[in-house]
Homo-oligomer: 419 residues x 2
């Protein structure tokens, strides 16, 4: 197992920091009224990459690429430039840097910074590739014998989501209105969602433009990095709208992501294979190597003004399909992938009751409400609740953290059409 790499930034050398030198994730930050720009997290600090570029400390392109509020331009430069950048950052911030004097003034305290969306989302696709989740949801709706749809073990099932819905952690999420219809109602009604839920997911960010089908290996190569992703879901809206063409407004209110893009090299020591196949995959979907990651995940819920409760713990290794398999399948029809495409993994649920990645599963469709450490009960999210996803790959004396992915639920508008 790999070990902590030491930095001259002291806070980066703790076993508890999410951002040791091994990580070096990419975000977009601002301080006060300044323009948002690219930064790299190290310990409890951020290296201002626009300033570092301006000072001539980092140069990966003829034109400046860091004085913008997104990492898409870096992605566009290609994987050789990604590797060059990482090597350079390790030099600048490593304990034997020799350039500490020049770099140190360009550090900003994370406590003083506001984080923004780290990249421009070109398109957003959400998958359904966690088997426990698919089995749980299927069991609730169709019974355990017919829980998994017939295609599930052959296709990483996915649907196109809405890129305009993706927001950075810390953005409040307004409870949506929508068409609702109970099984015994004669007519639908237009009302605030009563079953607003989270979905614990990982997001893979595509860093290359592709045109036509790509192999699983090429898909893995095309991934720039990962974020935590909460695919907020209006279960009651979904139940009425989703047949026959899939979820639409149920998933369009918001999708929150963590603010730091954790890159593939940081996660390399934590690669793991997808689980054994229950049915052979078609050859185009077989993995040439381990393309999933061992990342501990946690969900917490904090009622307004109360203490935080952990409501689920699981691991990214519970996925049945890797993001590379998903991205490969995504291109089979000739569908072009674009720099900035975001692929949600699908809800990540473990096999046990306390490892389920949605309240729909945790409360078994509101039949078994969960009790928080505060004594409060929850079947679905209530106004004022703050929901937080946390994630970290655990090394020997260090971890690769993602930074929280949080959102607070605001009450529904009185009249959604009033400006």
């Amino acid at each position: 197992m790999s070990q902590l790499k030491k930095s001259w930034v002291e806070s980066a050398n703790s076993a508890d920091t999410p951002f040791p030198l091994n990580n070096l994730p990419y975000g977009v930050f601002s301080v006060g009224d300044e323009e948002p720009r690219c930064g790299v997290a190290i310990g409890n600090m951020i290296l201002d990459m626009a300033a570092a570029e301006e000072a001539g400390l980092v140069e990966i392109s003829d034109d400046p690429v860091f004085d913008v509020p997104f990492w898409n331009e870096v992605m566009e430069l290609g994987s050789d430039a990604w590797a060059t950048l990482r090597t350079r950052m390790e030099q600048l911030l490593g304990e034997n840097s020799g350039e500490q004097e020049a770099v140190e003034p360009l550090l900003v305290a994370q406590a003083d910074a506001t984080m923004h969306m780290p990249f421009l989302v070109s398109e957003y696709t959400d998958f359904y590739a966690g088997k426990n989740h698919a089995f749980n949801v299927g069991t609730m709706f169709r019974g355990p014998e017919n829980a998994l749809p017939p295609n599930w073990l052959h296709i990483p099932i996915g649907y196109n989501g809405r890129a305009s819905s993706v927001v950075v952690s810390g953005t409040d999420v307004r409870r949506p209105w929508g068409q609702l219809k109970g099984p015994n109602d004669e007519m639908p009604r237009f009302a605030p969602c009563a079953r607003f839920d989270l979905e614990l997911e990982m997001g893979a960010i595509i860093g290359q433009n592709t045109d036509g089908p790509i192999t699983v290996q090429e898909a893995d190569d095309a991934i720039f990095g990962y974020v935590l992703l909460n695919d907020w879901s209006a279960r009651d809206i979904q139940a009425w709208e989703y047949q026959p063409l899939g979820p639409f407004q149920a998933k369009a209110t918001a999708t929150s992501i963590s603010p730091w893009i954790v890159t593939k090299p940081a996660l390399e020591p934590f690669r793991t294979s997808t689980p054994e196949r229950e049915k052979d995959l078609l050859p185009y979907l077989t993995e040439p190597g381990p393309m999933l990651y061992d990342i501990d995940l946690e969900v917490t819920l904090t009622p307004e003004g109360k203490a935080e409760s952990t409501i689920a713990r699981t691991n990214y290794n519970q996925m049945y399909y890797s993001p590379a398999q998903q991205a490969c399948h995504h291109t089979t029809s000739g569908c072009a992938m674009t720099v900035g495409d975001l692929l949600g993994s699908g809800t990540i649920s473990g096999p046990t009751k306390d490892s389920r990645g949605s309240l729909l599963e945790l409360s078994w469709g509101a039949k078994e409400p969960i009790t928080l450490e505060t004594g409060d009960e929850r079947s679905f999210l209530e106004d004022g609740d703050t929901l937080t996803l946390k994630g970290a790959a655990k090394g020997d004396g260090y971890q690769i953290g993602f930074g929280d992915c949080s959102g607070m639920i605001l009450p529904a508008l009185d009249d959604p059409f009033k400006r």
Copy 2:
């Protein structure tokens, strides 16, 4: 009924031209090796808008907006600027212009120009809002009693499509590979699509950024213009993949649009209401006025090296939901709309056999192949076929045409993963 407005461009005064002064649609063109730029069609000519702006003939913004290969910047200026632009174009190109001498040298023959995508597609949503189509497809799969899903008369059903798939008319379309599984097959296989189809649709282009729910009236106001749209569909891929989360790779190969954006003012005389409701809509979806259009539509199929056959004739007025109703519903969850969003109407089929907007319906799932004028039979599209959509709103002695929306089917690749 409105009448032809005369232009000093003689070819614009014919009853047969798709582009009289009444139309003035917006496209992006190039000649030879020149950079693509904005143009306006008039008769058989194109007014080079970049040159007109450069010459000081058109000014709707402090910064130039026409010397780019998309109309998004014009959309961003807002509806007052859209109106100013149209008025100015009518002045410049009207028969009593007085500026003919300055404008005439800036005209380019359409025959010499290559057309490009007229706008940058932000996101693409496809609806399922044609009742005859939904009934036909539902009847084939579930029988006439259960043809329409229970939500269909209450919700303009839609799903998110893939913006990267949208191409301009004239772009060849490669037959896709995908996972296929017949009802009696034990396992799926990965093979070229054998049931490749068209879908005759109209596309509405959103020209305003919105944040939060908008009313049907606001949605109508936010629409910049319309194009013809062919949502190429791989029926066999769709049949195996689409449960439970909707079509994915079946719709991601390509979506073709006609090259000219026909604006709302050009279509104003042809406004018509959606048909009588079979069930009352919820109040938020009711239309404050006619928001559909009377546009004749036609589909032709041309086998390679043979003559063109008309295979369907119908009208945009066959939709059950208007694009404004669709866009309103699209925002109910708080989903933000963005300049350049493209909304496909859903397949437009009339009530009769010869007015069906897809081969799936025309050949009734390959049970009743159609016979072309050349004697060839078709159940689905064959390699080398060219498929063309045509559309025109018919006024008194003039028409508002859209320009063809065409694509030729190329054979599937031998090995989709070979570069």
